[in-house]
Amino acid sequence: MTRIAITGYAFVSPYGDDEAAFWQGICHGPVPLSTWSATPAFPDVSCQAALLPPDLAPASGPLSERIVALTEDLCLRTLSQAGFTAAPPGLGLALGTLWGEHDGIGLDHPPAPLLGRLATTLGLEGPMLTISVACAAGNAAMAWACDRLRLGEATMMLAGGVDLVGPLAVDAYSYLGTLTSSLPRPFAADRDGFLLGEGGAIFLLEPWEQAMAAGRPILAEICGVGGGHDADHPTRPAADGRGAVGSMQRAIADAGLTAAQIGYVNAHGPGTVANDIGETAAIATVFGPEGVPVSSTKAALGHAQGGANALEAIACLLALRQQTRPPTLHISGLDPALSPIDCIVGAPRPGHFSHVLSLAASMGGATWTLIFARGPAWA
């Protein structure tokens, strides 16, 4: 089977677009908190959030327009990092975004189809798709991109996820009671919700042999993908984490690995009461009594919605490169009511590991898992 190499990436996060600052942020914080508020017409729609630094946020305008601009910038930076000055022939794009095509506030028409605009401005001629499964969209998009390469339908794929905070998100999550009153505390007994975040990342994926032949450094590999569904409740994850169990087991099998070979799990871990019940149950089921080191970087990054998985993929890649697992910030221990997992608390945990797993779940029940391996450029 075709191996999928990552030969470039770019990201933007509440800590900026610098890797050292990002790593420092997810390992030690502090979370750059801001107050987000909607237009004066909706004074009640506001919240604390981890927003992009003003100098890196797209200029003012309708949300969907700014998400397109951010995506375009990330794609161009990714190509540049891999040594391209223009889109190579056959390049495609798979993007996870929740609000890029689903928030028309401020427009007198639905947001224009995102893909057509990006195809034109970036010169893309290959497979293009946005995936709409909310907070699991980024992993689903990267999985779809991997399949296009495995099946020979594309020569190279840009893939990832991008989102920004907007009025519909703030109002919807406030109404659902899922936002924290302070800082997110995934897996802790006093967790009370997530912090909205924003940003995203785009990766350049290509067949391993093609990258080797071209002399492009292989930073990492996506060696396993898997999807599943809870099939339980529209807004509440299944208590046994059945969807997450299925997606993790399928990804591990897809990678040809055993659970024991996974050295770190970057959990979905938004910090809501309901999520952690099912997610810890799923991790305990898949990894058994031996366990696996787990953390949620959403405690540090906030929940960037459609961009969350891609930012977490950056965290996974940096963990592989640094041979260190980031902790879950803001907590001192695991909620004893949860299934026991090896949650990294307090400080980053060094080790020797070659594979990491990133788990994502969405409201509505979809779950997607990616497994990353360290590439020779970072060995």
Partner: protein
């Protein structure tokens, strides 16, 4: 055993009153449709591959109107917010109703969505990531839903190839030739989808049936800005 089309069908749905606290898409009808299919066995790992075309825009407009008219989304029940106002909501309901625990994705590729959803389902079935696959989509106005169920059956293997193109509103002879070469035989290009064909799903089902009968056929979908997808299906020896 080969991958094949087990069932396909569509039905009208009740759009319901606005603003909505009740189902815009009639989930009971959706479930009733699948329940009449004897081939759909509960307990088999089933994936859902939704095609979402321009319907996203209509959903977005309704959500925006609710927000701006009423100063928030509080008129919606939380279940309705997820089940009706996110593009994947109705199909998440299907997963819950039929216990579909396999991969779930909503494919938003504009006019290519249905072919992309179908090829994703075929790939997952072939890779053993699911045992059955729903491929479907809906049209909001007038309300209608369309579903097909794919699975393994006693039949010759079904082969497929997808070729993405750019810059043309018609499939080029070179692309058809390459598709035929990939499939190892000449292919018949099916005519464009009828205007009432939801996302072109009915035509894709017809292509599957003809391929299962031993033909080699191709279906072309294209966006206004020239993104094209040519899907070839071939059955028989």
């Amino acid at each position: 055993m080969g991958i094949g089309l087990l069932q396909a069908g569509s039905l009208a749905t009740d759009p319901g009153p606005q603003p909505l606290k009740k189902a815009c898409l009639n989930a009971r009808q959706l479930v009733a449709l699948t329940a009449t299919w004897p081939e759909l066995e509960m307990g088999r790992l089933t994936g859902i591959y939704q095609a979402a075309g321009q319907e996203k825009g209509l959903v977005t407009q309704e959500l925006d109107q609710l927000f701006t008219t009423h100063g928030g989304l509080h008129l919606l029940s939380p279940v309705a917010m997820i089940g009706e106002y996110l593009p994947y909501g109705p199909f998440a309901r299907l997963a819950m109703a039929r216990q579909c625990l396999g991969p779930f994705a909503t494919h938003c590729g504009d006019e290519l969505s249905a072919a992309q959803a179908l090829t994703a389902a075929l790939a997952d079935l072939a890779a053993g990531r699911c045992e059955q696959a729903f491929v479907g989509g809906y049209r909001r106005q007038p309300g209608a839903v369309w579903l097909m169920l794919l699975g393994h059956q006693e039949a010759p293997p079904l082969r497929w190839q997808a070729r993405y193109t750019f810059g043309s509103q018609e499939p080029q002879p070179a692309d058809l030739g390459a598709l035929a070469a990939d499939l190892g035989r000449s292919v018949t290009l099916l005519p464009p989808a009828a205007s009432d064909d939801i996302l072109g799903l009915d035509r894709l089902a017809m292509a599957l049936r003809r391929a299962q009968a031993g033909e080699a056929v191709a279906v072309w979908q294209v966006t206004a800005d020239g993104r094209g997808l040519l899907v070839g299906l071939a059955g028989g020896a």
